[in-house]
């Protein structure tokens, strides 16, 4: 038996792809799995996540989103408010930041998921009633309620993890 590392489905030995979620199975060995909580993962990531070089971002950006899976950094500037989500053909909804290239669909990002905004020197995030929720450091936010963000916080849209990099404004 092989347990899929992605969805925990039990596959017959010798299977190459998980019958449930379609992920490629790594080996024929019966894998020993260990339960890891989301908190542990985030703790690890926060310890290990390299502090990216902020100087490369444009000078006027007040917030940079560090997409932790791909390592990409998106600097945000010019406006004081950005909606995050994913574009979907045939839908009139247009988020300011389209996260489709970063596996947004598979991570459970809603089309209009959350908004980040700046108010003076403070930066806030607000969930826009997304299906899979918005989390700060593993804590789920109430929808339509603003929450403050600090430098280094891990923001999760569904399963898509983004590290918040603030510039001193």
């Amino acid at each position: 038996m092989i347990i899929c590392s992605n969805c925990q489905h039990e596959n017959v030995t010798g299977a190459v792809f998980c019958a449930e979620c379609g992920a490629q199975l790594d080996g024929v060995q019966t894998l020993v799995t260990e339960a890891i909580t989301d908190e542990q993962i985030e703790e690890e990531l926060r310890k290990k996540a390299p502090r990216p070089d902020l100087d490369s971002a444009p000078a006027n950006s007040w917030l940079s989103l560090h997409l932790m899976d791909s390592g990409k950094i998106l600097p945000l500037a010019s406006r004081n408010e950005f909606t995050l989500g994913r574009l979907s053909e045939g839908q009139p909804i247009m988020p300011d930041i389209d996260l489709t290239p970063y596996q947004a669909y598979a991570s459970g990002v809603s089309r209009l998921h959350a908004v980040v905004k700046r108010d003076g020197s403070q930066v806030f995030v607000m969930d826009l009633g997304s299906s899979n929720g918005t989390y700060i450091n593993g804590r789920r936010l109430n929808p339509h309620m603003e929450e403050g963000l600090n430098h280094g916080d891990i923001l999760a849209l569904g399963k898509l993890k983004i590290q918040i990099l603030l510039r001193n404004i």
Binding site: M1, V12, T13, G14, A15, V16, F17, C18, A19, E20, C21, G22, Q24, G27, V28, Q29, S88, E89, G90, Q103, Y105, A106
Partner: protein, 494 residues
């Protein structure tokens, strides 16, 4: 032929350990094909005499023993095609639980050969029910006429239309006066219901008129509707056709035809079903099919299997040239044909149970392969094979070969939609929704954007109406099937 003794076994197309019964059967088959009364082709009479001589020697146990004694022992039978087996793992594991094992059988025309395109004997069986009225019928008529103009002098084409009864528009023959025949096609008037058996039966009659193992004998069925009540008759007829080596390709136009039924009907003969979404696509798909038929190297590849205890053949799927499930209803699997330039690849999926892996070696596939090559008068020797894998206690860490990984990555997608459709039938809408969404995200990650979009739209319809749209179900099924032909993505092969 040289002074060396004739290869009697090769002439009859039997293996060296063939039983008397097999020799007799092979002789009758060859004799029917080659008998000088029926067959005037130059050189065939000589082969026939050789076959007769071979039978006289091999059917007599005493003379056969004498002949066997002078036969050089290691002489390998030469086959007019190439074959290869690709295994998912080098060995099986001794386990107390079932395990999966995959094999790809690859068959190919030899590189060094004369390319001869075999003459066709094709019946076009066209639905002319009321629903065909309009663009569908117009394009269909134009296409039928174009196909007739493209025919080579040696080809035989018949055209049959059906609604609740069948009519032979063009009988099977060589056609000289094509303009007059074109007028007959022009005069087809849509009316009536759809009764596929009527059309199929008439089409079969036409093909049978000039059935010949040197031709590609084939029926192409085009319909846009459900048939009611005569499904079993159709399937029984398909089984008979399979025995005679006549293939059925079925094509469904639009959304209101029964893809599951047409699939079963075609796969019984080694053929496949195709989906024509828009009337304007009729032309390309039909002409492509005719081109593929003219490109046939070997027709009707049949694999006969002997079951092994504890080894369960759970699925067989043809990966190319036309991706399609293979019917597992009998132990004689019709794998389809081998084209001139494209290899035929068929994936076998095995579930191996613990009791089969007690010994050191497991022979999991025992069978023979029968191939008939239309351009050759000589019967093709039967290929017998016994595929074995060692059984080890510890598994290897090597990843499966890229061919297997690619094939399975596509089969996984195809199966997800099959499973989702089954769940919908059972009324498990939530499960089906989840499966379709997983399928869509898998497709997106492989860059198949438009198919993923189609699925997400269907998910919406599933939420509202608790069913897929007729169109969407087919788009998803044939869309995931078409993916088998797409080249492997880099990240999957590594």
């Amino acid at each position: 032929m040289s002074s060396a003794p004739l290869d009697y076994y090769g002439l009859l197309g039997v293996s060296r350990d063939a039983s008397q019964e097999e020799i007799k059967r092979a002789y009758f088959e060859a004799a029917q094909k080659l008998h000088p009364d029926k067959n005037k082709a130059a050189g065939d009479t000589e082969i026939f005499l050789g076959v007769q001589q071979a039978y006289e020697v091999l059917s007599n146990p005493k003379r056969r023993a004498q002949y066997d004694a002078i036969l050089s022992p290691e002489e390998k039978i030469s086959l007019p095609y190439e074959y290869k087996f690709i295994y998912s793992r080098p060995s099986l594991i001794r386990l107390d639980e079932p395990q999966m094992f995959y094999v790809i059988v690859e068959l190919q025309a030899p590189a060094a050969r004369q390319k001869k395109s075999p003459p066709l004997n094709v019946a076009l069986v066209l639905d002319r029910s009321t629903s065909m009225q309009g663009e569908k019928m117009d394009v269909l008529k134009a296409t039928a006429i174009q196909i007739m103009r493209n025919l080579r002098p040696q080809d035989i084409l018949s055209v049959v239309t059906f609604s609740d009864r069948a009519e032979v528009i063009i009988p099977a023959a060589y056609h000289q006066e094509r303009t007059r025949l074109e007028a007959r096609i022009q005069m087809i008037q849509p009316s009536g219901a759809t009764e596929i058996y009527q059309g199929l039966e008439a089409g079969v009659k036409e093909v049978m008129r000039s059935i010949d193992s040197k031709r590609i004998n084939h029926i192409i069925l085009l319909t846009d509707g459900h048939t009611y009540g005569d499904e079993q008759q159709c399937l029984a007829l398909a089984s008979k056709l399979a025995e005679k080596g006549i293939g059925i390709t079925s094509m469904g136009i639009g959304k209101e035809w029964n893809d599951i039924f047409l699939d079963v009907l075609s796969t019984r003969t080694g053929g496949s079903s195709a989906y024509i979404a828009e009337p304007r696509d009729i032309k390309n798909i039909l002409i492509e099919k005719f081109d593929a038929l003219a490109q046939t190297y070997a027709d009707d590849v049949v694999m006969e299997l002997t079951p092994t205890e504890g080894v369960e053949l759970s699925d067989v799927f043809r990966l190319q040239p036309e991706p399609s499930p293979v019917s597992l209803e009998t132990n004689r699997l019709h794998l389809g044909s081998i084209l001139q330039d494209t290899s035929t690849r068929v994936l076998f999926e095995y579930m191996i149970h613990p009791k089969a892996v007690k010994s050191e070696v497991l022979a999991f596939l025992d069978g023979s392969l029968k191939v008939s090559i239309s351009s050759q008068s000589m019967p093709v020797p039967l290929l017998r094979f016994r595929l074995k894998r060692p059984v080890s206690d510890s598994p290897e860490a090597d990843p499966p070969p890229p061919e297997i990984v690619h094939a399975l990555s596509r089969l996984m997608l195809y199966r997800m939609q099959e499973r989702a459709r089954k769940e919908i039938e059972k009324g498990n809408i939530d499960t089906a929704t989840r499966q379709l969404e997983t399928l869509a995200s898998n497709l997106l990650s492989q860059g198949e954007k438009s198919l993923a979009q189609t699925i997400l739209l269907e998910v919406d319809s599933l939420q509202k109406k608790h069913a897929l749209s007729d169109e969407g179900g087919k788009k998803i099924k044939y869309g995931t099937r078409a993916l088998f032909l797409a080249p492997p993505k880099k990240e999957l092969v590594q």
